[in-house]
């Protein structure tokens, strides 16, 4: 009788220990997952601060010029690449992946270029390469003169569908 009670106690203790050990293991994993989650959050905040600091240091607003690119609809033009020149100097050459093009078609806007420019008159030229209506190779350019003052300058390259002419339209607008 005593032996049976002893064995039963041992079995119960072992079961309880096993269940506690499992619980502890689960808690530990939960803690690591929570800690990682917290770390991810902090990394995002740190990345934000670094991004802002980098921009402040390298592109102060007095000289900053930003060029965005957006696509509206995109039925008549499939974007492959863009070459951007400011004052006849190539500042960006960009090749697009399908995923990036899709993101643009769905309403995303790409920050194509950020740089510094002295105050005064400047010219921006953009060359768009891709497939035009009926899948033909298509290369078009557009240019725009603008004045850079002491505030940050933002420009946007837009690709729109001109339904009347069934052709894509390329423009530069000041934001």
């Amino acid at each position: 009788m005593k032996l049976r009670t002893f064995i039963l106690t041992i079995v119960l203790c072992a079961t309880a220990w096993h269940s506690n050990a499992q619980q502890a293991g689960g808690d530990e994993q939960q803690t690591v997952a929570k800690q990682l989650q917290q770390l991810r959050k902090e990394v995002i905040a740190l990345n934000r601060d670094l991004f802002v600091l980098e921009e402040d240091l390298l592109f102060p607003s007095s000289t900053q010029v930003v060029v965005y690119l957006s696509v509206d609809v995109g039925t008549y033009f499939k974007l492959d690449a863009v070459e951007l020149k400011i004052d006849d100097k190539v500042v960006t050459e960009y090749l697009y992946t399908d995923r990036q093009v899709d993101a643009l078609y769905r309403g995303g806007v790409q920050r194509l270029h950020i740089g510094n420019l002295a105050q005064g008159e400047h010219q921006i030229s953009a060359f768009f390469i891709g497939l035009g209506p009926e899948g033909r190779e298509y290369k078009r350019a557009t240019s725009f003169n603008f004045n850079k003052d002491s505030d940050a300058k933002a420009l946007e390259l837009t690709i729109n569908d001109a339904t009347g002419s069934q052709q894509p339209e390329f423009n530069v607008v000041e934001l």
Binding site: L39, R40, L46, L50
Partner: protein
């Protein structure tokens, strides 16, 4: 004349101003709707590419610059807060996502936003296995609202979770059973969740001892044929179709495996053989199916077929319970087929394999350390590089989960290292800029650049006076040729005067008056010409003067800016402070990552060793079974020999 100098001065001042104070200037943040919209569209650009990390960073930048901007976004589509919640969820910030959704649900958000928030919040809880809370949340969505406000894929997922939660609630006796046909009617025709719902229902029925119903349900998945196009074209036309097909095929294999074992358990060997036969060779369930196939054949006393299945299993380099059990199973089949010698041989081979597996596992237990896991996590597609005998351990979901955490923390560590270098570069850049600014300041002082504008202004005033005087004396505006002619005329007049005087001194007759008359005529012509072109020249001169005025004004403005900048307190200390703060945060996070990594590695080691030990224990169990079988076979042979001998004696 003044213009080139002014242009040069203007350029010098611009360069000086930029170089002196191109140090970080915290721009006054513009939070107009247009700018906020653009920033939001940048978020979308990353979001649509599934780059959730960048998307969240852009969200944070936007919200830091303009805290209330998300409410005023004029872009059509999903609510920006909802989007942020969704992205947070996708990036693994579950708590942040839950906070956002809860906040959205306490505000008077439109029904569409509410429905989507309930869905995402419920999904988050479902993934965290908080089923009761998840069921409560997901139940708040009505089928009409799901139809109206959720995308098809999301609606299907909602229905799937609902069906699972219903099954879970039935097992917890929280709710009454509901016919699965409800979910199947609502799910879209081509949804992959349809198969899961059916499979889970079948499994649930089998677990509730409803053998016939369970098999019938599972056969809806297991017997589902590929479409003609799928079989014929193999899905080559669309990678997406291939992915979907892979999932469907894997689920079909699992359903057939489950059907096979259900039949086997219920002594329906022929049906079991049929079901196991439908599992593809080379699939995740092929080993298990081969073992089951053998047992089904053995149940029908078709030992040759059973042995061929098990022999095939034995040839696998993988080390899992199905392969190991095949040695014991083969011995059983040989024994049943009255081939005890082969049974013994097979058991001996099994013992050798168990021993060699154990040896390798023990060696791994000793050798594998933190460095091995770090190296593995840093290897792309590490799961393809692991030794065959460790596959069942390392491909377990728990192990993979922990490895993915380790991969993430290692990725974070290398990112922190990069950032540390970047901050050091920024610090050096500030040093260089400060030095450069000081040297420019010095040069400015030495070259007295700022007083030059006053000199040029003086010169401009002189020009202006001359222009006024030109009204009385048009020849002031003469061009170079005319000025030369004028000087020649003056020289001729002087010479005439000198000659006339010399002539008189020599008591000669005075010069003829025609010389004077010629000189006067020439002077008259020149005066006439000057008067004729006066108005044009005056207009040109005035225009040039106006341009000079404009340049002087611009230069003065530049100079004022430069002076203002010179008088401004330098911002370098503030920037250095920002860098130092970031460096400090970075250091803290590096320490935190290191702590987490240590924990992860300890946990991985413990898991690995525990699982290896389990596998060794299992192998020892097989060894014991094999040894017992050998003893039993030997005993049987001995008894048979004894009986034969007794028979021979009699």
């Amino acid at each position: 004349m003044l213009k080139p100098y002014l242009n040069r001065l203007n350029a010098s001042l611009s360069v000086c101003a930029w170089l002196l104070y191109s140090s970080p200037i915290v721009a006054a943040q513009k939070c107009e709707t247009g700018i906020a919209d653009k920033a939001y569209q940048e978020v979308l650009y990353y979001y649509f590419q599934h780059d959730f990390y960048q998307a969240l960073t852009q969200f944070e930048i936007l919200q830091q610059a303009c805290p209330d901007s998300l409410s005023s976004i004029s872009q059509p589509g999903v609510d920006p807060y909802l989007l942020k919640g969704g992205i947070s969820l996708a990036y693994g910030l579950d708590d942040q996502a839950a906070d956002i959704f809860s906040r959205l649900l306490t505000t008077a958000a439109p029904l569409e936003t509410q429905t989507q928030s309930w869905f995402l919040l419920g999904k988050s809880l479902f993934e965290k296995q908080q089923y009761q809370a998840s069921a409560n949340i997901l139940n708040k969505i009505t089928i009409d609202n799901a139809d109206e406000y959720l995308h098809t894929l999301d609606k299907d997922q909602w229905l799937y979770m609902q069906s699972q939660l219903f099954n879970w609630q039935i097992t917890q006796s929280i709710t009454a059973a509901r016919d699965n046909s409800y979910w199947l009617d609502e799910l879209s025709e081509d949804s992959v969740y349809r198969q899961y719902v059916i499979y889970n229902q079948g499994l649930h029925q089998l677990q509730s001892n409803q053998y016939a119903e369970g098999v019938q349900t599972l056969e809806q998945v297991g017997l589902a044929d590929k479409s003609f196009l799928d079989s014929f074209l193999g899905g080559w036309w669309s990678p997406l179709t291939v992915v979907d097909q892979t999932e469907t095929d894997a689920l079909r294999d699992r359903a057939n495996l489950t059907i096979g074992y259900a039949h086997l358990k219920n002594q329906q060997a022929l049906e079991a053989l049929d079901a196991f036969n439908r599992v593809r060779l080379g699939s995740l369930d092929s080993d298990s199916a081969l073992l089951g196939y053998g047992w089904a054949a053995a149940q029908r006393e078709e030992y040759q077929i059973a042995l061929s299945a098990w022999q095939r299993l034995q040839q696998q380099p993988r080390s899992n319970e199905y392969v190991m059990e095949s040695y014991l199973a083969s011995a059983y089949a040989f024994e049943q087929a009255f081939a005890p010698t082969q049974a013994l041989e097979n058991l001996q081979r099994g013992l050798q394999r168990f021993a060699s597996e154990k040896q390798m596992l023990r060696a791994n237990q000793q050798e594998i350390n933190d460095q091995y896991f770090i190296q593995l996590a840093n290897t792309a597609d590490w799961s393809e590089q692991i030794p065959a005998h460790l596959s069942s351990i390392m491909l377990s979901s728990e192990f993979r989960n922990q490895m993915s955490w380790l991969e993430e923390s290692l990725g974070l560590q290398s990112r922190f290292d990069r950032w540390q270098q970047q901050l050091n570069t920024f610090s050096l850049m500030l040093d260089e800029r400060e030095k450069e600014a000081q040297s420019r300041q010095q040069t400015l002082k030495q070259s007295d650049l700022l007083s030059k504008l006053q000199q040029y202004q003086g010169l401009r005033e002189q020009l202006h006076t001359r222009l006024i005087n030109a009204e009385d004396e048009p020849r002031i505006l003469s061009d170079e040729q005319e000025l030369e002619w004028q000087s020649r005329l003056e020289r001729a007049k002087q010479r005439h005067k000198e000659i006339s005087e010399a002539w008189l001194r020599l008591n000669k007759k005075p010069l003829k008056p025609r010389y004077v008359a010629r000189l006067k005529r020439l002077e008259g012509i020149m005066l006439w010409n000057a008067s004729e072109s006066y108005s044009t020249r005056r207009w040109q001169a005035q225009k040039m003067l106006n341009e000079v005025d404009e340049l002087i004004a611009q230069t003065a403005q530049q100079q004022n800016q430069l002076i203002a900048q010179l008088n401004k307190t330098p911002e370098y200390p503030a920037q250095r402070q920002r860098i130092a703060e970031l460096q400090q945060t970075l250091e803290l996070q590096q320490q935190q990552t290191h702590r987490i990594q240590t924990q992860q590695l300890a946990s991985l080691n413990a898991l690995f060793k525990e699982q290896i030990q389990q596998q060794i224990d299992q192998l020892e169990n097989y060894e014991l079974q094999a040894q017992l079988a050998i003893v039993r076979l030997n005993d049987k042979a001995f008894r048979k020999a004894e009986a034969d001998r007794q028979g021979a004696k009699q």
